[in-house]
C-alpha cells in the first residue's frame, strides 16, 4: 500500500468516523462492539482501498451491516440458556416523549440483527426499500417483511395504548 493511499485512507477515516460509528453503535448498542465492528470494516476497506476509494463510505457501510448480521446471527446459533426473566412490559404514555424514546431505544436493542439492520438503514440512513435491499444483499420483499415484523415488535414494546389516546395508531 502506498503512502498516498494511507494518507487518503486516514483522511477518509478522520472525516467519516463519526457518521460511521453512529451507524455501528445504533446497530450494536454497545461501545466495544461498535468499535470492533467499525474497525473490522475499515480494515477490510483499507485492504481494498485502490478499488473502493471512490465509494469508500458506501463500501464500509455495506460491510458494517453485513458483518453485523452474519456475526450476530452466528452468535445466536451457539448453545444458550433461556432467560428466566421475561421482557419487561411497559405502559407508555405517548405524550411523554422522553419515556417513549427510552422505551423504543431499549426495544431497538432487542430486535433480531436483520430486523435491526433494516430499521437502522430505513430510519437512520433514510434509505428506501430497494436501497436497503441492495446494502443487505437481499430482495426488497425480504426487506419489507423484516421491516413489518420489526415495527410490529417495536409497537408491541411500546404497548397497545401508546398512541391510541392521540388517535394516531392505525
Amino acid at each position: 500500500m502506498h503512502g498516498n493511499a494511507e494518507e487518503e485512507f486516514t483522511q477518509f477515516v478522520t472525516e467519516r468516523t463519526h457518521a460511521l460509528f453512529r451507524v455501528a453503535y445504533a446497530l450494536t448498542g454497545n461501545q466495544h462492539a461498535a468499535e470492533d465492528l467499525l474497525q473490522n470494516a475499515l480494515a477490510k476497506a483499507f485492504a481494498k482501498w485502490s478499488r473502493i476509494s471512490t465509494d469508500a463510505e458506501g463500501y464500509v457501510k455495506r460491510i458494517i451491516y453485513r458483518d453485523f448480521i452474519s456475526l450476530w446471527r452466528w452468535r445466536s446459533r451457539r448453545p444458550e440458556t433461556v432467560m428466566a426473566t421475561p421482557p419487561e412490559q411497559y405502559a407508555v404514555d405517548a405524550s411523554d416523549h422522553t419515556v417513549l424514546r427510552l422505551v423504543l431505544r431499549d426495544a431497538l436493542r432487542q430486535l433480531p440483527p436483520r430486523q435491526r439492520a433494516v430499521i437502522v438503514l430505513r430510519y437512520l440512513d433514510d434509505l428506501g426499500e430497494k436501497e436497503v435491499a441492495e446494502v443487505l444483499g437481499c430482495s426488497p420483499g425480504t426487506v419489507a417483511s423484516q421491516a413489518s415484523r420489526a415495527l410490529a415488535r417495536l409497537r408491541g414494546a411500546v404497548g397497545p395504548h401508546a398512541f391510541q389516546d392521540l388517535g394516531v395508531l392505525r
Binding site: R22, Y25, E35, D36, Q39, L42, A43, A47
Partner: protein, 360 residues
C-alpha cells in the same frame, strides 16, 4: 404505521446512535488492513502452490509405465512429498501466527494479561488451570480471578465460558444495561448493571457462577447516563460510577444491596475493582481524558495523568498500571512514568477494546 410513530423511531435511533463515543480508528484499521493483505497474499500463494502440486504430483506418480528405460541406468530415486509450507516469495510474508507467549513482555508485580482482543471478533484468554492462552470468538471477555471460567458480554446478556471446553452458558436474569461487568475477588460471582424500575435508574445485579443465575440486589440507583459497576477488593461492596464523571461513586453492600459508605467523595468512572488499592485508601478513576488518583477518605485528588485509560490497576507496591492503546504504562505515585510495556503482537487496540490484566 402512523407517521408520528415513525418519527419517534427515528428520534430514538438518533438518541441511540449519539450515545456512543466515536474514536479515530485509522491507525488500527491500517494495521489490520495490512494484515489482511499479507494474509490474502500468503493464502493466494499457498493456494497456487497447492494447485500446482495437485497437477504435477499425480502426473509424476502415475506417468505411463512404458517409458523408455536405458539399459544399465539407475532406477529412479523414490519421490518424496513436497513440503506443504508455501513460500509466498518476496511479494508477501506468511500470515502472522499468534503466539502470545512468544511476544509477551512480562508485566511487573506478577501481573499477566487476562484477555487480549484480536481482530476479527476473537480474543486470547488466559486459562489459569492450564497456564495457556485460548482463542475464543468474543471481543469482550474477562477471565475469572480463579478457576477456568471467563465472562463474556454480547451486548444483551452475560455468558460464562468454560475455558477448557469453550462452551458458553448464558445467564438467566435481568438484561445488562451498562457496558461493563466485574468479577468478585474470589471469582464466585460477578456484577453488572440492569435497568431499574424507573426511567434513568439502574439496579446492581449479581450473577452467581455456580447457578448461572443473576438477580438484582437492592433498589434503583439514579443513573442519568451510562453507568459502570465494579466489585471492590474487600469483596463486600460494589461500586456504581457514572460515565459522565460528575456524580460521586455510590457503594452498595454486595449481599443486601443496601447503600454503604466509602467512596462518596470520589468522582469519575471506576473501571474495575482493581482500581481501588487493596487497603481501600486510594482510588484511580477516569475523569474525562485523564486518569485521576483520589484519596478515598478525603476526596483529595493527588495525581492526574493525561490520556484515557480503559483499564487501571494498582500494583502491590502502590504503583499504577494503565492499559492504553499504546501499551501498558507503569507510573509511580508521584506521576513519574516508570516503564511502558508494549501490547502483545496482534492485539486489537481500539478506544475501549483493550487487554485486561490479572494477577498471575
Amino acid at each position: 404505521m402512523s407517521r408520528d410513530f415513525e418519527y419517534e423511531i427515528r428520534d430514538a435511533l438518533v438518541d441511540l446512535a449519539d450515545e456512543g463515543r466515536s474514536v479515530n480508528l485509522a491507525t488500527a484499521a491500517i494495521r489490520d488492513g495490512k494484515h489482511i493483505v499479507r494474509r490474502r497474499r500468503a493464502v493466494s500463494a499457498a493456494a497456487t502452490f497447492a494447485v500446482l502440486a495437485l497437477l504435477v504430483v499425480p502426473f509424476a506418480l502415475h506417468r505411463p509405465v512404458n517409458r523408455i528405460v536405458q539399459p544399465g541406468a539407475a532406477a529412479p530415486a523414490p519421490t518424496t512429498a513436497a513440503p506443504t509450507t508455501a513460500d509466498p516469495g518476496p511479494a508477501g510474508t506468511p500470515a502472522p501466527t499468534i503466539d502470545p507467549m512468544a511476544g509477551l513482555v512480562p508485566l511487573p508485580d506478577g501481573m499477566v494479561y487476562g484477555s487480549i482482543p484480536l481482530t476479527g471478533g476473537y480474543s486470547l484468554v488466559f486459562n489459569r488451570s492450564t497456564g495457556q492462552y485460548v482463542k475464543l470468538p468474543y471481543t469482550r471477555i474477562v477471565p475469572s480471578p480463579s478457576g477456568s471460567t471467563a465472562a463474556v458480554d454480547d451486548g444483551r446478556r452475560i455468558g460464562l465460558v468454560d475455558l477448557d471446553s469453550g462452551t458458553v452458558r448464558w445467564a438467566a436474569g435481568p438484561t445488562p444495561t451498562g457496558i461493563t461487568f466485574d468479577w468478585s475477588p474470589d471469582g464466585s460471582q460477578l456484577t453488572y448493571l440492569a435497568k431499574g424500575g424507573k426511567t434513568g435508574t439502574v439496579r446492581v445485579t449479581v450473577l452467581t457462577v455456580a447457578k448461572t443465575v443473576a438477580a438484582a440486589v437492592g433498589g434503583d440507583i439514579l443513573c442519568p447516563l451510562t453507568c459502570a459497576s465494579a466489585w471492590l477488593p474487600d469483596g463486600q461492596a460494589i461500586a456504581v460510577s457514572g460515565m459522565d464523571g460528575k456524580v460521586p461513586i455510590r457503594l452498595v453492600n454486595a449481599r443486601t444491596g443496601s447503600p454503604t459508605k466509602g467512596l462518596e467523595r470520589v468522582t469519575g468512572v471506576l473501571a474495575n475493582g482493581h482500581a481501588v488499592t487493596d487497603d481501600g485508601t486510594l482510588v484511580v478513576t477516569q475523569l474525562g481524558a485523564q486518569a485521576t488518583v483520589t484519596v478515598a477518605a478525603t476526596g483529595e485528588m493527588i495525581l492526574s495523568l493525561p490520556g484515557a485509560a480503559d483499564q487501571t490497576y494498582w500494583s502491590s507496591s502502590h504503583e499504577l498500571l494503565l492499559v492504553r492503546r499504546d501499551g501498558v504504562s507503569l507510573y509511580s505515585l508521584t506521576g513519574e512514568p516508570v516503564a511502558t510495556y508494549p501490547l502483545p503482537p496482534g492485539t486489537l487496540a481500539t478506544g475501549s477494546s483493550l487487554p485486561t490484566l490479572m494477577r498471575g
